[in-house]
Symmetry: C2
């Protein structure tokens, strides 16, 4: 399939500007208060250098629906906090036992195990609280409740927690395709979907816009996860910022371990091309979403 | 001070009936779904036999303000889930490392450490979700948002997580009174306060009723924590359902370790008597709240 290129769009610049916006809001929401250690530990992983792709997708979804960016910043930050929370707890010695994340020691390596557990717990409660406390009063309470409820669905047993549980129970086992898809959808897909859905909801998107953006989210969320699994095989410690080959060692079921490397690269191509097509065909004016889908393909082709 | 007795009120019967109401709602909210293990682990600790004192206080607070009990049941259950969450994570090997809770093996002893972490995470997200999904539509969205936000405050870094962090950092150290009070308030007091406040808020209480019930909550929450610390010294494994003497071994700062046993018993007396007085003087028709305060005193006098 043909991957579209956005000739007059500078993705690097776009991502840099949006990342700055997100980081400055995260800095504010995560300012150090008493008891300092909990805020330092919550900040540490959330503010590790990264692309902030999930919050950026949330902002862009609101822009695509002509929404006010001020309305979505708290939600975009909450998404990054939930992502950080899942990293902190997944990296714990009793889980995946990882020492390195985004090129830095993992949370429990810096703060110790008990504080890492509490930092994750803190982010789980604080993320939805940030949305309720900081979303401008102009947003309908009904929409706000829906956004908070969808975030809780994604962070809890119907989302990340459920996905991580099935992932743990599946290690060293042959699993069927339904189980494999469940893990992918719940560990990655749902947070991507929420990023785009919440941006659209807060921008009072039409039903058709909401559906288009949800569909786009599912496709690139899946592509993103497969790309991650591919890079675990082909990447280096330096390029990844984490230890590569961990999936193989843990005998995790990944797309490349089931379908082979080339088939996985083809699948990323197919998913991202479809995602671009959906945006183009539905007349959403958002070169960024087209370019982001294209960049996932580039990452694995290199 | 004089402790009031409610001549025509059977507290045991009252607690039994309310516990039944709460347990049957908890059973419903925590029905086993895929992936089964996460729901089994979340259910296990939440449904361990116990008095359900926090949710009962929530129901009673609504009754004291002539509220509809149906409106508060989801919130009352969410309170018990957050309480269970804090027990699961506090009992982890990297925290207090407890094997016994309510007379049964702790969560990680039954399900393993990784699933116990996830069960706690699951409850943290699911508890506020239960409130949003199950509170009858008649309740104003504004009140619902306030209740959810107050619960998140209590469960996160401004509440239980903050309290547990300071508790951990204070072990084996001499601490000042402000730190000691911070731990008590955040590990116990705030969830008690939320129980009574949320019941009142959902019952559309007057400002004065809300203040009275908040004040009552602070007093008995503190009394409850001191009583717990006293029983850690005077109780048996059988009567407590957990290992006694743990605080002494861990050199935890408790009310009796700072003030001595007799002074702690006197303080429970004073706090509960004051709590009773506040309810009586403000003409809230709730013999149950008077009797509950009295029962805390009885527990430590025995």
């Amino acid at each position: 399939m043909k991957i579209l290129h956005q000739e007059n769009f500078n993705l690097t610049e776009y991502l840099g500007e949006n990342k700055k916006l997100i980081n400055s809001a995260l800095e504010k929401y995560l300012e150090i208060r008493y008891p300092n250690t909990i805020w330092e530990a919550m900040r540490y992983t959330t503010l590790l250098d990264g692309k902030r792709i999930r919050p950026v997708l949330c902002l862009e979804s609101a822009r695509a629906c002509s929404g006010n960016i001020e309305y979505v910043i708290p939600t975009a930050c909450a998404i990054e906090m939930i992502h950080a929370q899942s990293l902190i707890h997944d990296d714990l010695p009793c889980m995946d036992n990882d020492d390195l994340r985004r090129g830095k020691p993992t949370n429990h390596k810096v703060f110790g195990e008990s504080i890492a557990v509490l930092a994750g717990d803190g982010l789980l409660s604080y993320a939805p609280q940030v949305i309720i406390q900081n979303t401008p009063k102009e947003v309908d309470n009904k929409i706000l409740l829906q956004v908070v409820e969808e975030l809780l669905t994604v962070s809890g047993p119907f989302g990340l927690v459920g996905g991580q549980l099935v992932d743990i129970e599946s290690e060293n086992k042959e699993i069927d395709l339904a189980t494999f898809n469940y893990i992918h959808t719940h560990k990655t897909g749902k947070l991507f979907s929420f990023a785009l859905r919440s941006g659209a909801l807060l921008a009072k998107a039409t039903e058709s816009q909401l559906n288009t953006l949800t569909e786009y989210a599912k496709l690139i969320g899946y592509a993103f996860q497969i790309a991650d699994d591919i890079l675990d095989i082909t990447g280096t410690k330096e390029s990844l910022g984490k230890t590569p080959g961990k999936d193989l060692l843990a005998k995790k079921n990944t797309h490349p371990s089931i379908y082979g490397l080339q088939e996985s690269i083809n699948e990323v191509d197919r998913l991202c091309s479809l995602a671009q097509q959906i945006i183009s065909e539905n007349n959403l004016n958002t070169p960024a979403l087209i370019a982001i889908a294209g960049s996932i393909v580039q990452k694995v082709r290199k």
